[in-house]
Assembly symmetry: C2
Homo-oligomer: 345 residues x 2
């Protein structure tokens, strides 16, 4: 029997399969990326082809890190979409064409002959931040990622929870404003319909079209389709009132949702990630003001709101942490070898 590497020297492949980019990395047991590779998702070309590219990226990452498959203990994946992760299947991903029923883990197991596991992308990021980022050492942590949509994940009593059908902490579709804007899910007033990327841009364009003065129009040379949250944040930095108002309103609704999560999960820490989170103080100040006004109980007083520490790496590092968890589980369930058996028997 081959001898296992000491735990501290083990390496895992983490793969982050998003709607735009695929990233693979070799991650050591301390959470450091030792080599990586990227591919475009080309989501319109279907999920099966994307998975094949993800396998390629994983192989290239192993090579770039200077290793061979023998040096890797397991592969972990974070996938944007609803999954039946034990079966390795995608139920549905809004990003990819032809995603229903696609087998995701199979190609990785075949290509590398390694254990392979997956969970949805935000669950994996939550695991990454808990194991190696902002949530290290916490028993109770919530993570949200604010981008195109709003995703969520939660560590409760030390473990990542996924719920009865892998839908735990589907925070983006919590109703925040019953008569609010329609959401892609069919409901109205969902958190992500109020605070996701499109909602923020729409809020700005609405105010511009009402004739309010702003430097944003000059910044995009009057092409309103080019307005982005980053650009709005940039305008706010320069004191643009309209931009400040947009972030103020967005922060208000973000704060309501965050107050709700604090009261529902009672975490020690709430980690905020995703691109929109980079809008800085113009967004965080109204968030904090609203949380303070809305959440009066002990849970709010004891919960810290912090930005993600791993940033864009949370997906790859989290996926590797998932792989490490699986490797440990497999090891624990293996019958003891001669070397580790009781010498007395």
């Amino acid at each position: 029997m081959e001898e296992a590497l000491p735990k501290s020297a083990r390496r895992y492949v983490g793969v982050d399969i998003g709607g735009t980019n695929i990233r693979a990395g070799v991650v050591d047991s301390t959470g450091h990326i030792q080599g990586e590779a990227r591919r475009p998702s080309l989501a319109d070309a279907g999920m099966r082809a994307a998975i094949a590219r993800a396998v390629d990226a994983a192989a290239e990452a192993i090579e770039n890190a200077g290793y061979t498959v023998k040096d890797i203990s397991a592969v972990g994946l974070g996938v944007a979409g609803a999954l039946r992760s034990r079966e390795g299947i995608c139920i549905f991903s809004p990003n990819f064409a032809d995603s229903r029923g696609v087998q995701i883990l199979g190609p990785f197991r075949e290509a590398f002959g390694l254990p392979a596991v997956m969970l949805n992308d935000v669950a994996v990021q939550t695991l990454g931040e808990h194991r190696f980022g902002a949530g290290r050492g916490c028993s109770n942590m919530v993570m949200i990622t604010i981008g195109t949509g709003i995703g969520g994940g939660a560590i409760i009593d030390g473990e990542l929870r996924i719920g009865s059908t892998e839908g735990f902490a589907e925070v983006g579709h919590m109703t925040i404003l019953p008569d609010g804007p329609f959401c892609t899910c069919g409901n109205r007033g969902c958190w992500e319909a109020l605070c996701g990327r499109d909602a923020i841009v729409r809020r700005a364009i609405g105010k511009i079209q009402q004739g309010n003065k702003t430097i944003i129009t000059d910044m995009v040379d009057f092409r309103l389709a080019s307005v982005t949250p980053a650009l709005i944040a940039h305008a706010a930095e320069q004191g643009d009132e309209l931009a400040v108002e947009v972030l103020e309103e967005t922060g208000y609704y973000l704060g309501i949702g965050i107050a709700n999560l604090i009261q529902l999960y009672n975490p020690e820490i709430l980690v905020i990630g995703g691109g929109i989170a980079q809008a800085g103080r113009w967004l965080f100040e109204p968030i904090l003001r609203t949380v303070r006004a809305r959440a009066h109980m002990v849970p709010a007083a004891t919960c810290r709101l912090v930005p993600s520490q791993l940033g864009d790496d949370a997906g790859v590092i989290g996926a590797a942490a998932l792989a490490a968890r699986e490797a440990a589980r497999l090891e624990a369930s293996r019958p003891p070898t001669t070397a580790s058996a009781d010498p007395e028997r």
Copy 2:
């Protein structure tokens, strides 16, 4: 050393300390109440005196069941209020005068010489419904109780979760309508400010004062202060339009909150308890309609909404289940006795 009873023959005392009534019961290991006793809470006279009466009730329940303290393995308590349960202390109970810092477990330990444990009332009811009621066999369950306020509790991956400061599933203070009515907690639009007992009554009185016709005015002989949710439900049963409208609106807001809980906790089952839940189909139909409209994802399709099975007994039975859990924990942490030790050693 005294020999422990076989687990199947053990009995526990469960005590439910609410704002109006104190109930104590001796409960066997199959969840049946074998004898009980009650006392008034007399909340205005302070919590310390109420705890003394609760100890009396527990002693009387043991006697009524035909046992002595020797026959009991442990005592469990469910207490309406915010607790530091490990220390046995009440942080604050809105029901009781002088509740801050009151030691609750001490008097029980002194009186009976038994292990005593406690948690807040809704957590305990959730444990009861999970162990012996509507949630038997479920790994993921949410319970809400709709009464004066709205309380919540959750079983996640088979265990009752209490969060980092015993505030898990503080569902009543989730914001449902940002500009809604003010809540006793200082926030506005909280779930319980929209759907608790007072909100329902206020909704009815508002419509009556607008001059809408209703049989409710006759039912209370024009004393609007006598309107209750039960009376509104009764009027709805008789086809009273105003009463139906009141329950319809209440069910709409209940449905929004329930849809949120389903998406945040992804439970197999959501158990609805508390007095208001008895309003029947006039409330459940709008709840179900709203949940179906608001929660489009897999979690909603796989979650069953069911009424509490233990009803008013959930508190006593749940408190006994908590005692049983503590007894099992103590047993597991005890060093092995001679009889159970390895004969080889």
